[in-house]
Symmetry: C2
Subunit: 459 residues, 2 copies
């Protein structure tokens, strides 16, 4: 085709690193329809062109090409809130309320088992699952963030890695002072240093971090121009605590402390009143909706349609695998489309395209990555996936967007590209040694099982 | 092993048709724990033994054996409410309210496209998806039930096939008289004639079938001792119609007409008051919960925990692929576990095992198949599946039931057996020619697309 275009007197074909074809290209650029028989061109990790197959073939020669028959090319998904290493606690305890789950199980388990090695293995397991499922960016909040960042560096994903600080003892720390000092140090060391890793502060929640400590976080985040990621307005118990102690809502509490002036990624955002929603919209705070986790912990249903109407940037998250119990963002997309229809009684609420927007373009903005990813257009970093659409259980196909939301599973993702680099080809993850990972997970989970059995025997 | 047991003077090993092993066996018999390293023995289509691998190997010699490493053996899932052939409408229209969806799209589409050939192809596509996903029994309600029954006969699944009758024109019929006469004829011809197929009456809903016609249904169902399957108490619009016309609730309306004295399978059961729930429990009516469909159509949240507390037999259904948009019962299991936690604010509501019970033992009772399937124990028909548990995204494994509910997807099902016959082995469906099916679906959906495009052009 390049030769033909030369013969026709057109400009000579330009070189590219990678051309990804698709029977369908869903750019997620506002108001752009699904492009049939198209391609995305990548050079130096960035998207340099999106267009019809014919135009692209005339203008570019890719060093590598990925065929697109029966596939849609679209932006990779953005998981706006997770605790990756908790994959090692997947399914250990279920069907408990948030405070029992946190105080009786999660915090004690973390105190007992979470080490740098645990975090390396658990994070790698999470990254494997995310690459396989088409998630290309995630916002993490977990202990030993340097170890998380090194796994992210190796496996090729993009992440906001938030270093947790909390007023109570946590893995590696005795309380606030040392956990906050470590977070400041982490942010300073990683800020601006890695093309795919953005460090962040992670004050755990308004009910576990004092107002003074939240003010200190604001001060340092402003000084370092750093992202802040935190749990906010998750459950009724949090609202009750904040009302009793500060006579306000969780949102207005942290807003009053200055957090809404920072680049805040607020996870959950369930317990909101109209004032909270208006403040969130006005501030540009990213709100991450975690439907599975909120349902499983009985936290409530986030007022997502009201937030969207008010102009809040709403993203989607899986939360950790201990409360989900997987990192499959397609389930969150589907639930975002379903849950608010039944909550409002309006089946036109959160239509399929809007749900998908929350996992891509708008989710990227909410995760403070909107300048880099979430849309397929020239200038954006090349974070994209191919999803297969012709499996027998997907037939027939009338509407690509409908299928992506209501029919697609993580197993339908066939290609994952981040920053122009292939992380998965034809379902094979290229950057993680699956056999070695499985062996590590087996060893670590055997340790956990043995320790739990010993505790059970002793009690 | 058989030789050893003979040497030890034990009884000689008995012959069996099939032995299905599992690292885990989940019988779903009340209060039976997960059996590790076990097996299920099948002869003449029935389960004749369930026990430890060692005991089974000593006592039985199977003509065929299926290995169970990293697999759980459990009862096949029961889909208590679906319209199988609507797979051919999968994803055609979404994000509309029930009455618009029904009256503007579904009914006209059905009038235009639904023929015996459409039903044969759509039903086969549905059966393929159900076999692949581990559903072994289903309750169908769709046009041309003889064609449905013939597909079920060939593909090996078990089904209650309900013949629809409605006061309005429907595919093949001008209204009530002929559709009801055809249903009576269908039930007479199939009742007691096939080991896996049970015919049933299907008066569409209380808002589409008059009281006189519901009374006539009751009379014929009583005379023929036949199952009745219908939509009941689905959406607020139905409740409003029944209140306006009959000054009662949908449940008390049909109860007053005698339907609650029949073997009724009532689909949806969303709009219920405490009286309705008490009547349903007392009557033994099976209530089929369709969470995805109810959410997608904004119908409301069924009071499942209250029904379970009252003793109602609650099963799960996918509804048709036009309102789901697939027939994946694992998603319904997961949603049944999640939705009622957030609805009640109680994260201990509908724990994982209870959700799984609704898809197996209790679902079988609700679908009027509880004497045949839903549990793995001697005397039951051999409807069982193997689910793989060691894929990397499922690791680690602490609790089999938790993983089945919160992590398993339909793609994790590896073996499907119905009535002792293997319908899928190692993910390969053995009773349906996938290539031929795909060709038929392509042809039929092309026809639908062309007709729709012609309509669009003309309008």
């Amino acid at each position: 085709m390049a030769v033909l275009s030369l013969c026709a007197g057109a400009a000579p074909a330009q070189s590219a690193d990678l051309v990804v074809y698709g029977d369908y290209v869903l750019t997620m650029v506002p108001d752009e329809p699904v492009l049939e028989n198209g391609a995305v061109v990548v050079r130096d990790g960035a998207i340099i062109a999106v267009g019809s197959r014919q135009t692209i073939d005339e203008q570019y020669i890719g060093a590598e090409a990925i065929a697109g028959t029966h596939r849609v090319v679209m932006p990779g998904l953005v998981n706006g809130h997770t605790h990756t290493a908790m994959t090692l606690f997947r399914g250990m305890v279920d069907d408990l309320d948030l405070m029992t789950w946190l105080n009786k199980y999660v915090f004690p388990m973390e105190g007992r088992f979470v080490t740098p090695e645990f975090v390396r293995i658990g994070t790698e397991l999470a990254c494997w699952e995310m690459i396989r499922g088409g998630t290309t960016s995630f916002v993490d909040m977990y202990f030993y963030p340097d170890d998380i960042a090194r796994v992210v560096d190796r496996c090729g994903l993009r992440a906001v890695v938030a270093s947790p600080h909390i007023d109570y003892p946590s893995p590696g720390f005795s309380g606030w002072d040392d956990s906050f000092a470590a977070a400041v140090d982490f942010v300073k060391r990683w800020q601006g240093k890695h093309p795919r890793i953005t460090p962040a502060f992670a004050p755990h929640a308004p009910y576990t971090v004092s107002p003074d400590h939240l003010r200190a976080t604001v001060e340092k985040a402003a000084e370092l121009d750093a992202i802040v990621s935190m749990h906010l307005a998750e459950a009724p118990s949090e609202s009750a605590y904040i009302a009793e102690n500060f006579a306000t809502t969780p949102v207005r509490h942290v807003q009053g402390l200055g957090l809404y002036n920072q680049r805040l990624i607020a996870a959950h955002m369930v317990q909101l009143d109209p004032n909270d929603i208006a403040l969130t919209a006005a501030s540009g705070v990213g709100a991450i909706h975690n439907p599975t986790s909120n349902m499983k912990l009985g936290a409530g249903i986030s007022p997502v349609p009201a937030m969207l109407n008010a102009g809040v940037n709403v993203g989607l998250g899986t939360d950790g695998a201990a409360s989900n119990n997987d990192l499959d963002l397609w389930e969150e997309v589907r639930l975002a489309a379903l849950l608010h229809k039944v909550q409002t009684g309006d089946p036109t609420a959160v239509p399929a395209l809007q749900a998908l927007t929350m996992a891509t373009r708008m989710g990227a903005v909410a995760a403070r990555l909107g300048d880099k990813v979430g849309q397929l257009k020239p200038g954006m970093r090349a974070d994209l996936i191919q999803v297969q659409l012709n499996k027998t259980r997907q037939l027939p196909l009338y509407d690509v967007v409908s299928h992506l939301v209501y029919v697609t599973d993580s197993s339908d993702v066939v290609t994952t590209v981040v920053d122009g680099k292939l992380l998965m080809r034809d379902r094979e993850v290229l950057t993680i040694d699956e056999a070695a990972l499985r062996a590590s997970v087996a060893r670590k989970s055997d340790e956990i099982r043995s320790a739990l059995a010993a505790t059970d025997d002793a009690s």
